[in-house]
Symmetry: C2
Subunit: 75 residues, 2 copies
């Protein structure tokens, strides 16, 4: 059991990634932010993030990459 | 003649770009920064930036993309 993860919300984002360089860049900005667990679905241009951070903070972090990004909703 | 551009230095950077999504991301972060003119050589992973801004500022901006980036030198 991981009590500190019970309240974490999982969020789905669109990020316009087209190659493994793109998904690698997203991986690095999210790891730099910290406090997140995530999965990247490159073919479908989706990023699933589990975090207690605001979705605005997560979206701004994704947009730092220079890629088009949108919040889709809770997952 | 463009007198305000006479003192601008042109700088060469390596940025690990592998697709047009990558070079598009670099284009967007540099346009967002402003005060720069630049060319991107995607096959050779080079970005040439003409600007009065510090190279540290330019490099940090390039690194925001989450891509590996290094300053090569004046061009």
């Amino acid at each position: 059991m991981k009590p500190f993860e019970l309240f974490r919300q999982k969020h789905e984002f669109f990020v316009d990634m087209t190659c493994e360089g793109c998904s690698g860049a997203v991986t690095r900005v999210l790891n730099k932010l910290g406090g997140v667990q995530f999965e990247i679905d490159l073919p479908n241009k989706k990023v699933f993030i589990e975090s207690d951070k605001d979705t605005d903070v997560l979206l701004e972090t994704l947009k730092k990459t220079g890629k088009a990004a949108n919040y889709i909703g809770p997952k």
